[in-house]
């Protein structure tokens, strides 16, 4: 799905989190929102997911105005920084949650839910953990379960907030590859937020560098590296 951000701005009370920003994300792209904390990248992601309402501006999905769509209507697969797994549910129940939450008319039958969850567990290469509780999983396993749970609702796009933030360096490298593979298999337009420029450069097709609520530069990783558009970008990617 093609995403268009049209002059989106957001302020919380008197503090401005986002100045009007515009950005076009081509269908099927893997995009990194890169910037230091306070740059507005998470706010932008949350506006895309419908968790925040912009102070001004519009969001368009495939050319259609989606600004007023509620979070439930957006069908955006969202992976949170803390993963936000449901502690009292097994991995299976976590992944099945989005399907079970549907109104009766559109809810798949139990057999279909089981089939889909099993398939997703295979996709994240953890077929044997269905009956475990989140507290019994490693950090990397939790991240992949959160990803599977987001994919279960057949989302129109995938949004990830610092998906590797809570992991140690070794697991982080492994899972980057995992995300790339899942993106390539599903073909979903994917946006992830990171403060780690290596991660953005290695993983993304398109990198959006942000600072102080503004977009500094948008481009392919090699272009940004070769031609930083502003002093901030130069300093940030050199760091």
């Amino acid at each position: 799905m093609h995403i268009e951000i049209d002059e989106i701005a957001k302020s919380f009370g008197s503090t401005t989190a986002l100045h009007p920003v515009s950005l076009a994300i081509p269908s099927g792209a893997l995009v990194a929102l890169l910037g230091p904390s306070g740059s507005g990248k998470t706010t932008l992601l949350r506006i895309l997911g419908g968790l925040e309402f912009p102070t001004s501006g519009r969001v368009l999905f495939d050319g259609q105005d989606a600004t007023g769509l509620t979070v439930q209507e957006r069908r955006a697969g969202f992976v949170f920084q803390s993963y936000a797994l449901f502690r009292h549910m097994t991995v299976f129940e976590n992944i099945a949650y989005g399907l079970r939450a549907r109104p009766r008319r559109t809810r798949p039958p139990q057999a279909e839910i089981e089939r889909r969850v099993t398939k997703l567990l295979e996709l994240i290469q953890l077929p044997q953990i269905a009956k475990r509780f989140p507290s019994q999983l490693s950090g990397g396993q939790r991240q992949r379960v959160a990803l599977a749970r987001a994919l279960a609702i057949e989302p129109r796009m995938l949004l990830l907030d610092e998906p590797f933030g809570a992991l140690d360096a070794r697991v982080r490298k492994e899972l980057r590859q995992g995300l790339r593979e899942i993106h390539d298999t599903t073909g979903l337009t994917t946006v992830f937020v990171t403060h780690d420029q290596d991660e953005a450069m290695e993983l993304a097709d398109l990198v959006v560098v942000m600072s102080m609520g503004r977009i500094e530069q948008v481009g392919r990783p090699q272009d940004i590296r070769a031609r930083p558009a502003t002093p901030f970008v130069r300093a940030f990617i050199d760091a």
Binding site: L51, F78, Q81, A84, F86, A101, R102
Partner: protein
Amino acid sequence: MRALGIQKSPMPGFALGMGITMTMLSLIVVLPVGALLAQGAGYGLENVWTTVNTPRVWAALYLSFRLAFFAALFNLAFGTLLAWVLARYDFPGRRLVDAFVDLPFALPTAVAGIALTALYAPNGVFGGIARELGGKIAYTQWGILVALIFVGLPFVTRTVQPVIAEIEQEVEEASATLGAERFYTLRRVILPMLLPAALTGFALSLARAVGEYGSVIFIAGNLPLKTEIAPLLIVIKLEEFDYDGAAAIGIAMLLISFSMLLAINLIQIWSRRRIGHV
């Protein structure tokens, strides 16, 4: 000291601290409870059973336990609602209301007892309304229920409130991004997370209500087989100088309390294992 299994410690005062603790514990708690059990043992297990196994005692035990259960059930629902409102919503006077929730802990039971009776007796404010509607609250089982709800009210709220404050916002947001409407999130995500704490509060409220005396006797009516609670039977036996009979009922009540204490611990172990200790 070795014999007690204490490890060598540079900290002084073990002997003094332990001495005071054990002396007090023995004098105040262990010896009296021991005397109660000894009285029962001296009376004989069979006689204890014969005393308890009479319609009047059974009726009282059943009444105490049943009404305590319903009161705790009400407090489970209302206490959870109260905890949610106090933890999540902002309204004028919220902090004052929050402090006020503990009043049943701070108000002496005898005061609560006569106040509730004045309120729910046929010539009282609420009792008058009930009479208009053709009902009666004070001097019936309804009156006992009201009193037991009062004394147990804060337990569930106070156990659940901190858990609500600890729920990560992201968990609720995750539920919404997966397509769940707010009510579904409340039912399937938030309530199950609150359940272990709520059940602990339920058990505390139940334990308190089963043994409650002061707030109940004024409003109960105290009719044998109908509105006579178990602790009152002990008082009656004591007034008749029937120490064996009183001990028998006391032991029965102790057993009920201990099984509830055990239940509280099992609930906590179960919930900790299921949800993990974070």
